[in-house]
């Protein structure tokens, strides 16, 4: 039987990029089963020591929606959102925004949680990223159930654009993952990153047309144009509510760039990992 051979040396792996990409592919394939198991582990462990179990997965978005329903029914918020009722508009916005933020947070978060494992066992580490990604998808799927309910309740018009929604969602996930992966090497070493993500996310949400429609004039208009997240959120919401896709070109460009950054991020992750583990101790 031919034995596989592995060599460890200080040579930078970027010197042989083809080998590197091949190894990345092999590990991603080899890590699929593991990623699924890790995801199932996290999922079943998440709610096992609770009385209400999976109810907790539905509660946060449910509470959020009730807030918007209340605000809307009392006329506290009065923002013109055209054909789509405001409560539904805001709900869609926050849910989509949450997917993006989850995708940004996932790499740093899952890596930090996996530190004891990373510093002691050699395994396809991409599996950890993949497991985190599955969790983002799962959380989205849970919220999606609520979103469908909200859309039915407020009779949100649905059009052919809905068929484009998976692409829009993929764009959101990819851009979030790209940013998350870019932050991962520093975030694994310095806790500052994971502490600042929620703060930035909150701030950025107000600069992005999440709970209000995109403006075309003024500072808000400028932000809507130059904020790279805006086209993603706007496009995703437009596909859901059957509107014309107004920002298709910027959306495509940003998604494409995200795809490239995600790929580069995966390679960087691979190269950085031994150095990060060396600093983890344990």
């Amino acid at each position: 039987m031919e034995l596989c051979e592995r060599t460890y040396s200080p040579e930078p792996l970027l010197g042989s990029p083809l080998k590197l990409i091949k190894a990345l592919g092999t590990d991603l394939l080899a890590g699929r089963e593991l990623a699924w198991r890790l995801f199932m582990r996290d999922l079943s462990a998440q709610y096992r020591q609770t009385y209400f179990g999976y109810v907790w997965a539905f509660l946060p978005p449910l509470v959020a929606s009730l807030t918007f329903i209340f605000l809307n029914s009392q006329g506290i918020v009065a923002i013109d959102t055209g054909a789509v009722p405001y409560a539904a508009f805001a709900m869609m916005g926050t849910l989509l925004w949450q997917v993006f933020v989850d995708a940004v947070t996932a790499p740093v978060q899952t890596l930090s949680a996996a530190k004891p494992m990373l510093s002691k066992i050699n395994f396809p580490r991409e599996a950890i990223l993949l497991a985190g990604f599955y969790m983002v998808l799962f959380n989205f799927a849970v919220r999606m159930v609520l979103l469908v309910g909200v859309m039915l309740w407020w009779h949100v018009p649905v059009g052919l654009g809905l068929a484009f929604f998976p692409v829009a969602l993929a764009g959101l996930l990819l851009s979030g993952t790209a940013i998350g992966l870019a932050l991962a090497p520093i975030g694994t070493l310095y806790g500052d990153i994971s502490k600042s993500i929620p703060i930035f996310a909150q701030f950025l949400m107000l600069l992005t047309p999440v709970v209000y429609p995109a403006r075309t004039e003024g500072l808000a208009g400028l932000l809507a144009t130059w904020n790279p997240i805006s086209p993603l959120i706007v496009t995703a919401r437009e596909t859901l509510s059957g509107q014309d896709l107004t920002l298709l070109l910027p959306f495509s460009i940003i998604t494409l760039v995200s795809l490239l950054v995600t790929f580069a991020g995966l390679i960087a992750f691979r190269l950085a990992m031994p150095h990060l583990i060396a600093r983890m101790g344990g």
Partner: protein
């Protein structure tokens, strides 16, 4: 101290025992582990370490960077290669292992053993040198890492196996033998958080050795299990030893002497000696004995104003079977009646191997200044270095009068017993053939 040791470099083949040579054919393609001049630097200061980490990552990602330190691959790296605050966690270590060979790593805590194992396992990158590993590598650097406390043992078996690269099919076929080996059948469907640490170790070891590795890396993982389980583990290690190359860290010197075909003594990341297991253990013990004087702690009763041991440094050398006298000088405000008095002999593995009980002979510590000598008639111990614990308790058996831990060292010479401190006198061996 350690500096008195001379690093010895011998060609490995010369040191391989005849037994292992017979088990493993020495073909060059059977070299499973090839370590060449490996060094790794670490930084003690956390803030600095993190900053160097960022720099290392950037260096690694820089496509114009031709090397991340390999400029000193061939020669031994020196102090100039260290950044401020760094030290060599592993420094210029080289060795080769073939199938059927077992290398023992010896060294005190912080000698770089675990770091070396982590480099071998590909967890961290060496700063210089190179490592080639062939075949499936099974590593037990930490048992139970990846065990999720809330999930059951059975669920964790599948997860851990997946982490170690064992397929689900392979585990399905072996799950019963894994559970039986770990001996936790009645617990297998309860959450791992209800397991004792010993049970977790048993489960981890059972999973890791189920994968039939070509190279097995065992960090000091068996220290947690009980003696019965350790025996079971060593049986399994022994049974797979001829089919793989093993790198083994343990403080159990007798097992190491038995299993390992060669050993390396490490200190401050450097290889001080690489050769026969017996010689490595001897050098380690000598170094430990030379420095263990620092562990001396002494507790005395309030009434005792001064206490000193006489003739204790340097360690007395005693011929096995001859007598030993311990002299103490003390000054007490009042007469202190003695209930219990003994001297314990503790070996380097921290096991108490002998006791001299003076309770019946030492009535009291007299008032005023006095000199006390305690004589042991025969020190019937194996060759080696022992530290002595002196304990004298009051007649109520609770109050401490004098309690010196590692208060003296004794170097017993002349009786090389195998793996035991005391050798029983023998009677006859009688064999009766019942059926030929």
């Amino acid at each position: 101290m350690l500096t008195t040791l001379t690093p010895v470099e011998k060609p490995l083949n010369a040191n391989r025992s005849a037994g292992s040579a017979a088990l493993a054919p020495t073909r060059s393609e059977d070299v499973l582990v090839d370590v060449q001049h490996v060094s790794k630097k670490f930084c003690r200061d956390l803030k600095r370490s993190l900053w160097y980490g960022i720099k290392d990552v950037l260096n690694e990602l820089n496509p114009w960077q031709k090397s991340t330190g390999s400029r000193f691959t061939s020669a031994s790296p020196n102090e100039q290669d260290l950044r401020p605050g760094e030290f060599w966690a592993v420094h210029d270590v080289s060795f080769q292992l073939r199938r059927g060979e077992c290398l023992g790593l010896i060294g005190h805590n912080g000698a770089g053993k675990t770091t070396l194992l982590k480099i071998l396992n590909g967890l961290i990158k060496p700063d210089s040198g190179s490592i080639t590993m062939r075949g499936r590598v099974g590593a037990l650097i930490a048992l139970g890492a990846g065990f999720n406390p809330i999930l059951t043992g059975r669920e964790n078996i599948y997860i851990n196996a997946a982490i170690l690269g064992i397929s689900k099919k392979e585990i399905d076929a072996q799950i019963d033998s894994i559970i039986d080996f770990a001996d936790i059948r009645e617990f297998i469907d309860s959450p791992v958080q209800s397991y004792s640490s010993g049970m977790q170790v048993r489960l981890g070891f059972a999973i890791a050795t189920a994968m039939k590795p070509d190279v097995l890396i065992l960090d000091e993982v068996l220290a947690v299990g009980d003696a019965a389980f350790r025996a079971k583990c060593f049986k399994r290690i022994g049974s797979i030893a001829r089919d793989c190359a093993i790198i083994f860290v343990s403080h159990d010197q007798s097992q190491m002497a038995r299993i390992c075909t060669q050993a390396m003594l490490m200190s401050s990341g450097r290889c001080l000696y690489h050769g026969t297991t017996a010689e490595a253990i001897d050098q380690y013990n000598a170094a430990q004995a030379a420095k263990s004087g620092t562990a001396y702690t002494l507790q005395t009763h309030e009434a005792i104003q001064s206490f000193a041991l006489l003739d204790c440094t340097p360690p007395q050398t005693v011929q096995a079977g001859s007598s030993l006298t311990l002299k103490l000088k003390l000054k007490s405000q009042k007469r202190l009646p003695v209930g219990i008095a003994f001297i314990n002999f503790v070996d380097l593995a921290a096991t108490t191997v002998g006791q001299a009980d003076f309770s019946a002979r030492l009535e009291a510590i007299p008032a005023g200044e006095s000199e006390l000598s305690l004589t042991i008639e025969r020190v019937d111990l194996a060759q080696g270095i022992y530290s002595l614990n002196l304990a004298i308790f009051a007649s109520n058996r609770q109050e401490t009068l004098v309690h010196g831990v590692s208060c003296a060292q004794v170097n017993v010479a002349g009786a090389p017993y195998m793996w035991c401190a005391y050798k029983m006198p023998l009677g006859a061996v009688d064999i009766q053939i019942i059926q030929a």
